[in-house]
Amino acid sequence: MTTPRWLTRVGVPAAVTVVVITTLLLVVLLGGFDLSRALRALWSGSIGSSYAFFSETLVRASPLILLGLSVALAFRAGIFNIGAEGQLLAGATAAVAVGLGFSQLPSALLVPAELLAAGIGGAFFAFIAAVLKRRFGVLEVISTLMLNFVARYAVSYLVRGPLQEPSHAYPQSGALPPAARLPTIISGQQTHLGLLIALIFAGALWWYLRSTAVGFRVRVIGAGPIAAASSGRIDVPQVIFGVFLVSGAIAGLAGGIQATGVTYALYEDISPGLGYSAIAVALLARLHPLAVVIAALFFGALEAGAAAMQRDASVPAVFVAVVEALVILGVLAIGRVRTQIAVGRLTAEPAE
């Protein structure tokens, strides 16, 4: 009586999706809004036209894929890195600083340099929390969360200080010159190279976790750090430290593609809490790198559709925020139920 693995893998997210959409519609209906208009807007604003899909949904999904991978990788190793938001800001800042500082370089050098800087920036921000954890045993849940605020206010300072635009009137950086911007990959659409980068990272991370020795160690530590340490073959603190940095670097890269591919400058409000949405993405994907891509697309479509619902059916954005929060709760609840079923099954059929 075992359900096939693929069914639970596909079934759970599918169930969540249905629940999310139903909840959203219920909320819209209860809020007294025009349901058919809202539905039409949700559809046409997310995947109902090629423009909506390529320029809205995919553009929103690109950073979410990378951020979701960042969170998924950390969670896989049992590291509760909820600092993707801060690491993203650090990455975006580093990318913009490099893009403005070396603007005379040719695009073929400058763009990779920006993205490299973004990765290093994100890794640096994770490094702070990683050192605190390793040396002093500071819980990363707290340190990474607090560092998100540090990053936010550091950006506020930088766009009013060293990185402020030349006229010194507005709290934002100067605009990146065209050579410092990520190219778009579909003519007439806003989809940028960052999407391809994100997809490559998803594939690479999937392969890495599945097929390499280091990936295996990461999974073992995530499954049981004490067992991993007891085996005597895994330097647990060392692996955790490394994974933490890589996780930060991927989140930083997400900030890099957002700054060089979408906003073309550093702003205080460059991220609408993408780093927090990423936790929902990773959980919905059950921490599977390839599933992260699908979950990120789902969230990208949801947010693009939500904007359209606001424009065309006057449904406030907070409704969608509520539904997104419900997704997280739903995923956690379903995970909990599954664990109980598994435990029940084990106790029911002990000798097998």
Binding site: L39, A307, R311
Partner: protein
Amino acid sequence: MKFTKNIVFINIAIVNLVACVAPKNEASTNFKVALLTPGPISDQSWNGGAYAGLMRIKDSLGAEVSHIQTKTPAEFEQNFRQYGANGYTLVFGHGFEFQDAASRVAPEFPKTIYITTGGTATGVNQAAMGFSFGQPSFLAGFVAGSVTKSGIVGCIGGTELPPVKASFAAFTAGVHTANPKATILVSYIGNWDDASAGKEQALAQIGQGADVIFQNADAAGLGVFQAAKQTHDVFIIGSNADQNNIAPSVTLGSVLIDLPRAFMLVAREVKSGTFKGRMIQLDTKTDVVRWVPNPSLPSAIPVNVTQRVDSIRATMLAEQFVMPPLS
């Protein structure tokens, strides 16, 4: 499952139907106006005023209207583009922070006019509205400097934005004109929507002896009113919208931007086809910015102070007013 499938099909059908019909409608009669606000329209201030403006355009000019609340530069651009693509005639981005996005999108949609309230970027189909907020802020400062007993006056802003800083500087000049020895406390909450943080800042300034506080923090500023209500003998001056009704017992008056009036000025131009992309400066003379004392608290401002304010305002209307050097 079948049910959801049906919904999807119905949707495709509806979308196709709309796609076929819509362009004809747009071309003929529709005057479509959209507004992007950076914060919630429930703030009874900057964003609420803009929404009131949008509603007035809807009611007076018969426009079809749409509003969206957006926070990030990426969304500004995406929504500007969507409104352009959907045939909107006039799109307001409510704040200087929208100007980069407007400058990028406006050339792509020459039939749509993009207005930012604040900023300086202009184009053929792009204009920036500037508010000469300094003059009414000066008048408010003059009142504050006359009314304060402790000689300590506070300013609380959302974040340190250029128009807010300029308003506080003019306010300070007004305070010092009335009371050269007065001390000015300036603090920023760090955001525009956390009312409890606004309250904390206000209580901190009250603790330092401030008895008049000029706030410009939108939804976060609502906390400043709450702080004044629970302490004694502290007066608040509101910003952006007429905030005299939020807490009538503690409010001296409001430095008001008549956003509905400003929006209507532009919308009329656009509707009649006389609009030209430019910097639209709105001042005391256009009556878009003004100092409005709280009518339900007439005794708070002595008669001689009101008379002085009126005479200074007369010099402003006659364009003879000279702002003292700002610190």
